[in-house]
């Protein structure tokens, strides 16, 4: 099994004036290909901090993060941008779509930064939008879509670059329970098709639907258990 993520003793310290806030206190774990993981914990446990580091948006104070064996500790800002672009697919709680752009244009956006030509961009964006069930909504703009549809657009956008893993931050946080279930179902399907997925959540019902749950408390992993999603 190929290693996708290897976190070695990640620590993050925020300085608040005199005070030091230890948001992460030595987090180590490994993620292999096609895993479906949720990272769970109460408010303030360090979930967002860990997400930012895993997403190469921020650097740990100490420790090492390897993505597909590449240590990102020494990467420059531009190299991190490239890693985010090529290897990581982000899904946000509030979708973070461009409101004036169509679904298709939103999905094309990461390919623009990857330097993919226009025609190929369009084709690839269409394929993933069809995959998430939005073949008939490609020309719609986010305000014309329901919450669930918006999150599907965002998931299509995360997948379009064929990243090494998908990193979702409370992806169902802004959705009702029925829509949440549908989105989680989509994640499960995408995982079955070979995608590696990490979901950050504080919601146990969401976490239960994944295959593995990493429990975070006070910046440390306290439990690493199997979820119900194993059978999926």
């Amino acid at each position: 099994m190929s290693l996708v993520i290897e976190a070695r003793d990640l620590r993050k310290i925020y300085h608040m004036g005199e005070e030091e806030v230890h948001a992460l206190r030595g987090v180590s774990f490994k993620v292999v290909k096609q895993e479906f993981i949720s990272i769970m914990g109460p408010s303030g446990s360090g979930k967002s901090t860990l997400l930012h580091i895993l997403g190469c948006l921020d650097r740990p104070t100490s420790g090492e993060l390897l993505i597909e064996g590449q240590n990102i500790q020494k990467a420059t800002g531009n190299q991190l941008a490239e890693i985010r672009n090529r290897r990581i697919g982000f899904v946000f709680q509030n979708f973070n779509l461009l409101p004036k752009a169509t679904a298709l244009e939103n999905v094309e956006l990461p390919l623009i930064y990857a330097g993919v030509r226009r025609r190929e961009r369009r084709e690839r964006a269409e394929v993933v939008l069809e995959r998430v069930g939005l073949a008939d909504r490609m020309a719609h703009r986010p305000p014309e879509l329901s919450g669930g549809q918006r999150q599907r657009v965002a998931i299509a956008r995360a997948m379009v670059t064929e990243p090494t893993f998908i990193l979702a931050d409370e992806p169902t946080g802004a959705l009702d329970s029925k829509t949440s279930a549908q989105i989680m179902e989509l994640f499960a399907e995408l995982n079955a098709e070979g995608n590696t997925i990490l979901i950050i959540t504080h919601d146990p019902t969401v976490a239960k639907q994944t295959k593995r749950i990493i429990h975070l408390l006070d910046g440390q992993i306290i439990k690493d258990t199997a979820g119900d999603g194993v059978s999926a």
């Binding site: 967002s48 948006l57 941008a81 490239e82 985010r84 973070n96 461009l98 752009a101 930064y113 330097g115």
Partner: protein, 404 residues
């Protein structure tokens, strides 16, 4: 991200907030319109002033008594008495740099022909007038020596005067009546002049020309003339001619006051200076508008960057590099300012056109002026965009993403 993508996204973002985009362009629009309008009007005015002064004739020197302006009234009165036909002959003989000195008197009255009447300005002069002013006869003839010698009541019409009085009909040989106060004078039309167009001072075409002696003796009953129009031997001798005129007049009057001598060159120079100052002033207004416009663009770009912090964070998460965001916002600022520039060009051209239509001179809308004004708008956009674009590009993605 390449340039085409950046432009597309800039147009998007500006279109999505049309009113605000337009308002922030306003300064640039006004600045560019001002620059284009001014330069076009200025160039046109300059060209037309040059034309009009040259249309007066060639190497002309206008000599006239100074207008009485309170101070030295008695001196001026004296000076006016010196301006006679005899002085013209005297100057022509004594000043080696002067080829001709043509005396002229002016009056005005009502011209009557059958049912039509026309208020017209009448010039009493000699045959040489036609030569020094490069004036061409269209039909019939100009004044002859004999007309002046014998004070014959003949009249030559400027083209517009002829048209007004006779329309399509042939005026040659017709009888006209000239009314001044309660006196009436009858003239026979012997010629019509070619059109000369608008000329520096007054319009030749709407004047009528009669023998000098007739106006002096019969109408004005004076022995002085209003102006001496001298022609220098050559352009090179125009300066010398002015000095000779000054010397001769001063020695007659015993003073250098009481008369004015203006050469055509001086008129050109004065007009050029006036036009230049005007252009400089208006150009400065345009420049200030552009500066203010630039501040407006910078302000709106800063607002835009802070409003779109989350978007910037999202773009960074999706892989946008420093360079990509810098380009995006710089291009947006450029598109904003050059759109304003383009609108300004149109507005400026319209203004120049309107002014030339109502102000009776041709505006000359020239490509280099347009290019320079447009270039300035682009420069303003670039300078105004750099700082906001850098702010956007160096945002920390974590901070940007969690921005509310």
């Amino acid at each position: 991200m390449n340039l085409a993508e950046a432009i597309r996204s800039a147009v998007w973002s500006l279109q999505s907030n049309k009113l605000r985009s337009f308002l922030s362009m306003l300064g640039i629009i006004i600045g560019v319109a001002a620059v284009v309008g001014i330069v076009s009007i200025g160039l046109g005015a300059q060209a037309s002033v040059l034309d009009r002064v040259s249309a007066l004739g060639s190497n002309l020197i206008m000599i006239s008594p100074a207008p009485t302006l309170g101070r030295g009234a008695s001196v001026s009165t004296d000076a006016r008495e010196v301006f006679t036909v005899e002085l013209a002959q005297y100057m022509e003989e004594r000043a080696p740099s002067m080829k001709r000195v043509v005396p002229q008197v002016q009056t005005s009255g009502l011209l009557l022909y059958e049912g039509t009447n026309l208020r017209a300005s009448m010039v009493g002069t000699t045959p040489a007038y036609k030569d020094v002013t490069n004036y061409e006869v269209r039909a019939g003839r100009f004044l002859h020596e004999l007309d002046v010698d014998q004070s014959t009541p003949v009249m030559v019409l400027g083209s517009r005067a002829a048209e007004r009085l006779f329309g399509e009909a042939d005026p040659l040989g017709e009888q006209l009546t000239f009314v001044v106060g309660d006196r009436r004078y009858s003239f026979t039309v012997v010629g019509v002049m070619e059109s000369k167009g608008q000329v520096f001072m007054g319009n030749y075409d709407s004047q009528v020309y009669v023998p000098l002696s007739f106006v002096m003796e019969r109408i004005l009953r004076t022995n002085t003339v209003s102006t001496l129009m001298a022609q220098a031997v050559s352009a090179a001798e125009a300066g010398a001619a002015v000095q000779q005129a000054e010397f001769l007049l001063a020695s007659r009057l015993g003073t250098t006051d009481g008369f004015t001598i203006t050469s055509q060159d001086e008129m050109l120079e004065t007009m050029g200076e006036v036009a230049f100052t005007l252009q400089l002033m208006l150009g400065a207004i345009g420049g200030i508008s552009l500066l203010v416009g630039g501040i407006g663009v910078m302000n709106i770009m800063l607002v835009s960057v802070s409003e779109r912090t989350r978007e910037i964070g999202t773009r960074k998460a999706l892989g946008a590099k420093y360079r990509d965001l810098l380009l995006q916002f710089l291009v947006e600022s450029l598109v904003l300012s050059t759109s304003g520039g383009a609108l300004g060009l149109i507005l400026g051209a319209l203004i120049a056109n309107a002014v030339s239509r109502f102000g009776d001179w041709p505006a000359s809308i020239e490509l280099p002026a347009l290019a320079v004004a447009f270039g300035f708008s682009a420069l303003v956009g670039l300078v105004a965009g750099v700082y906001p674009a850098m702010q956007a590009a160096k945002l920390d993605p974590v901070v940007a993403l969690s921005y509310e």
